[in-house]
């Protein structure tokens, strides 16, 4: 359970809470005693001074219980906040050690929910639950003990009230709680249909399918509404029932009191019964309330438990990629990448994505990978960066198995440009001069990198230039601008290797061309790995590896491949038009 993350200091705070809550309950339960004294005084003709004698301690008790409650509240929320802060941090740190495999297993959306909503849930439930779970039983037991020596018939009345209440709540919960899940599903369904209608708005219009779409929506809407109606109508019983039970309980205590008193023999006995009656009516309320609180906490807890379990799942996940020890590589082998009979299979998959891949690149060379979707191009370069580990063979970088490197050291060698440009909120400068080498770079390096990436024009036109603000997700930049910054980031890192994962497709033809020219000039001596869809992008590469269904279907330079490789020819011809095309 999530409780094991509660620190020793926090446990002692919880213990302090327990003591304080006991004190609070004690003080609260003292109050009816004074009330009874006051009532007796009133009925026997006591003086105001006498009443005040009882009144002052009663106010003191009330105030004391208020103070205790405030302190308990503060401590409980403090513990909850600091616990959730720590769990959130643990979770974040652990996610940061994940390889792509673990990220994929949880899915991005789910990881985000787990770090925010789920933790908020746990925090709220912890703060509230801690107070109520301690207070309600203490209150119930203590109050019951206090009234147990009074007349049995009152106790029976109270027990009946509690029973009726529990049964009512129980029935409603049985009816309603399972439907909450259904409502969630129906809402998702409605979302799905609305989302479809929005994303396909042109198709819907073109096919005059408006009423088709509306009917579909209406059906989902009706399903949701009828379930919602059932749930809300059932819940409509809850509050009136509670009020009725409480009112009837007070009434029956008085009625029973009347009967008992009229049957009693002496004045003294009658007086005792009368004050008992008044005291009892307020203790009985406390008992009922305590049970009510417990029922409600049992409604909240299951949700929080689910959230807690989801958080733990993340915290307890061990990353499948582990650190090596080496930080340096053998002399004279910089800039080399070698694949030796590499094969790779995604965990749980039946078939290998890559099979028996071998090739070698020397310093300063460019190697390109081409093939249809699903041929394993992107997977192959992911192995170089150790996003995944090979399932067979070896990947060597600078003559050393990638698994032997410390991850930091391996990745410091690489400038990676993913297919989808990744932009962080912040400034242009922060985006380009990013990562663990950032302290060694200056604004001049950044300017130069942006220049090579063909971004000087738009960056200098931005408000604030290199210090210009970039919104979350880079929404104030176009796709091409984002990609150029992403390329500049890699250049600024001055890496041993560039890895371009289909990074040029977001650029228009002219920019693509001049960028590649500039790169070639400025980065001579750096090894490049390029994944591409377009033949035009890779034609000049020293080596082209053609992949087909995870195997090497051809390897060599463009001209050789045109002659020797059937697959390459097929790709080239299908694209020839596109190559010649205005783009």
């Amino acid at each position: 359970m999530i409780l094991k993350y509660v620190s020793k200091k926090e446990w002692s705070l919880v213990a302090a809470c327990f003591v304080l809550i006991c004190l609070q309950v004690y003080l609260e339960l003292e109050i009816p005693g004074y009330m009874s004294q006051i009532t007796t005084l009133l009925t026997t003709g006591g003086t105001v001074a006498q009443v005040m004698d009882e009144g002052w301690p009663m106010i003191a008790c009330a105030f004391g219980s208020l103070l205790a409650a405030i302190v308990v509240g503060a401590v409980a929320t403090y513990v909850a906040a600091s616990l959730s802060k720590r769990i959130r941090k643990m979770q974040f740190d652990n996610v940061e050690t994940f390889s792509m495999e673990e990220i994929g297993r949880f899915s991005l959306a789910s990881l985000i929910t787990r770090s925010t909503n789920d933790i908020t849930q746990v925090q709220m439930a912890f703060a509230m639950g801690m107070q109520i779970l301690i207070k309600a039983p203490v209150m119930a037991i203590w109050a019951i003990v206090k009234i147990s020596d009074k007349d049995m018939s009152w106790t029976i009345a109270t027990a009946v009230a509690v029973a009726v209440m529990m049964v009512t709540i129980g029935i409603i919960m049985v009816l309603v709680v399972p439907r909450f899940k259904i409502i969630q599903k129906l809402t998702d369904n409605l979302n799905q249909i609305t989302g479809e209608g929005l994303s396909g708005v042109r198709v819907v219009r073109a096919y005059n399918a408006e009423s088709y779409q509306e009917e579909k929506f209406e059906k989902a809407n009706e399903d949701l509404t009828s379930t919602n109606l059932f749930v809300n109508r059932s819940l409509a019983v809850l509050f009136p029932m509670m009020t009725a039970i409480m009112s009837l309980l007070s009434l029956s205590i008085y009625m029973i009191g009347a009967i008992l008193i009229s049957a009693a023999a002496g004045v003294g006995e009658r007086l005792t019964l009368f004050s008992d009656m008044i005291v009892f009516s307020s203790y009985a309320m406390q008992v009922v309330m305590a049970f009510m609180m417990m029922v409600f906490i049992f409604m909240i807890l299951p949700r929080a438990t689910v959230a807690a379990r989801r958080i733990e799942e993340v915290i307890n996940t061990e990353p499948s990629i582990t650190d090596g020890t080496k930080t340096s590589s053998p002399e004279g082998r910089e800039g080399e990448i070698e694949f030796r009979n590499v094969s790779f299979k995604y965990p749980g998959a039946a078939e290998s994505v890559l099979e028996d891949i071998s090739f070698k690149v020397k310093k300063g060379e460019t190697i390109a990978f081409i093939g249809s979707t699903g041929s394993g191009k992107s997977t192959l370069i992911n192995l170089v960066m150790r996003f995944y580990d090979v399932t067979g063979g070896q990947v060597l970088v600078d003559g050393e198995d990638v698994r032997d490197y410390k991850l930091n050291a391996l990745r410091r060698k690489i400038g990676y440009i993913p297919q989808k440009a990744t932009i962080f909120s912040g400034t242009v400068y922060g985006n380009v001069n990013y990562g663990d080498t950032s302290e060694e770079r200056t604004i001049e390096d950044v300017k130069k990198a942006v220049g090579i990436a063909q971004g000087t024009d738009f960056v200098e036109k931005m408000d604030g230039g290199y210090e210009g603000r970039i919104a979350e997700g880079g929404t104030n930049l176009s796709g091409g601008q984002k990609q150029r910054l992403s390329i500049a980031r890699a250049i600024c890192r001055k890496p041993e290797f560039y890895i371009f994962d289909d990074s040029f497709s977001a650029l228009d033809y002219k920019t693509d061309r001049s960028l590649r020219d500039a790169l070639k000039k400025e980065t001579a001596g750096v090894t490049s790995l390029i994944v591409a869809q377009r033949i035009g992008t890779i034609m000049d590469a020293d080596t082209i590896v053609v992949l087909d269904e995870g195997r090497i279907a051809g390897i060599g330079a463009h001209d050789d491949l045109l002659e020797s490789s059937e697959v390459y020819r097929e790709i080239a011809y299908s694209q020839l038009s596109e190559e010649e095309l205005v783009r």
Binding site: V51, C61, I112, T116, I261, M277, Y416, S574, V582
Partner: protein, 602 residues
Amino acid sequence: MSGRRGPADHPGMTAEKPKAFTEAWKKIFSYMGKYRIAVWISIVFAVVGTVMILVGPNKLRDLTDLIAGGLVTGSIDMGAIWEIGLFLIAIYATSTVLTFVQNYILATVSQKMASKFRTDISKKINRLPLRYFDTSSSGDVLSRATNDVDTLGQSMNQSIGLLITSVTMLLGSLVMMVYTNYIMAAVTVLSCVAGFGMMILIMRYSQKYFGIQQENLGNMNGHVAEIYSAHNVVKVYNGQKEASKKFDSINEELARSAFMSQFLSGLMMPLMNFIGNFGYVTVCVVGAAMVINGQMSIGVIVAFMIYVRLFTQPLAQMAQAFTGMQSVAAAGERVFEFIEEEELSEEVVSPRKLEKVEGHVEFRNVHFSYVPGREVIHGFSAEIKPGQKIAIVGPTGAGKTTMVNLLMRFYDTDSGDILIDGVSIKEMRRSDVHDLFCMVLQDTWIFEGTVKENIIYCKEGVTDEQVVEACKAVGIHHFIKTLPKGYDTMLDNTTSLSVGQRQQITIARAIVENAPLLILDEATSSVDTRTERAIQNAMDQMTVGRTSFVIAHRLSTIKNSDLILLMRGGNIVEQGTHDELLAAGAFYSEMYNSQFEDGGED
């Protein structure tokens, strides 16, 4: 209650957007339509039910007096006691029923309202001009249709009832107290004033922290989303330390505001308790003095013990109800904003319809702008004979879809006209214009449903044979046969179709539609060679005998077309045949030649 304090404090709490608040509620009430009567009934029930609860303490007082009266003598008038007891039971029962009915009505009304809102939003989506969707995010519309409507339904259900009962309770208990004993009433009110003042202060203070808390949660969400989705880059660039630093500072802030907001809102309950207890003692002490002085009976004290509770309870409830009403107003505003968006222009009064379509299309001096003042099509004219093929070319983002938008009448031209077989499309109903075209767009659109449903879509009277034929034509029949349930396989998130397969299904849908004109986007991104050929064949098939507008990506299409429209930066910059444009030596030839050099080295 707090005569001077109250008014001074309330504006501070409600000042957020009072004008929009009333306006939104007015709209919501007028939207209720026939349910308004039901709401009035429930309001009356709530008031009556609450008043009945208020009568209770008064009768309980009589009961206590009767018992106390018999304490010394030992003779209690049990008859009278039973009478009161039964009366109270009757009152409790009635008020329970009334409150239940009121809750039931409000639950029903708010859910029906939510349902109506959803329906209206769904219909509205289909009546909005495309301009709207091009400029706003679909996530925003989606969140209005679901989140906002949900908030509306839930909060309305709770807040209306709560507000009415709590106000009635507050006023009613005040009236009853004054009626029972005005001195005691004054004592009770005064003893609670200080507590209420504090409560209001805390509420105001905590609202500030709730705002900060929301903001911090947003920051956390944003940061985590950013870092997790950039996981690969963060790893390669060893950016964990940087990410961690930012995370820590947000986490720290978040923990602090979470503590403050939760702590402050947690204060309300104990404070309420204290006010209750304090009021209780005051009532007892003052009451005792008065009983001893013979100014009133002990039963009055018992009644006031309950009044104190009834009087202190509603204030917290009112605050809660008010917050609820504010979120209803906020959600309502967003929903109404959408529902009141300007719709498509009215259709012409007596629309013309083409009986037999030849496929003659004429652009007559068409001017068009997405944003007023920034014209993108400046007086475009062209005449296309039946069966001709028009290629629309240009770099990505050059506005090739503008032509689709105009032809389909998704947007209306600023001036000039588009005529099909001599009839202006402005004189036709939009749906009739749509019926003239088969349309295949680049982002393939597949909805949750079976393969067959996706292909037939909303077209009526399509036989299974037609579906199979269309699928054979696009070369996906074989694949569909391999699916577990063939044509009845559900397509949803679990069945993974490749981009190519999705495109093939979309084309099959267009084939089944079988309209006389064709709009086609040729882009087949990221599909393997074999699929690409199949798709291209299917597309070529479709253009036979149809006037076709093709957003072209293949040289063969461009070369074979009767007219090329070259678009750049949203404008049509050149038009003509391949040879004409090459001869003109402008942008087209420049682009074409530079590409040719590039590809010509081999």
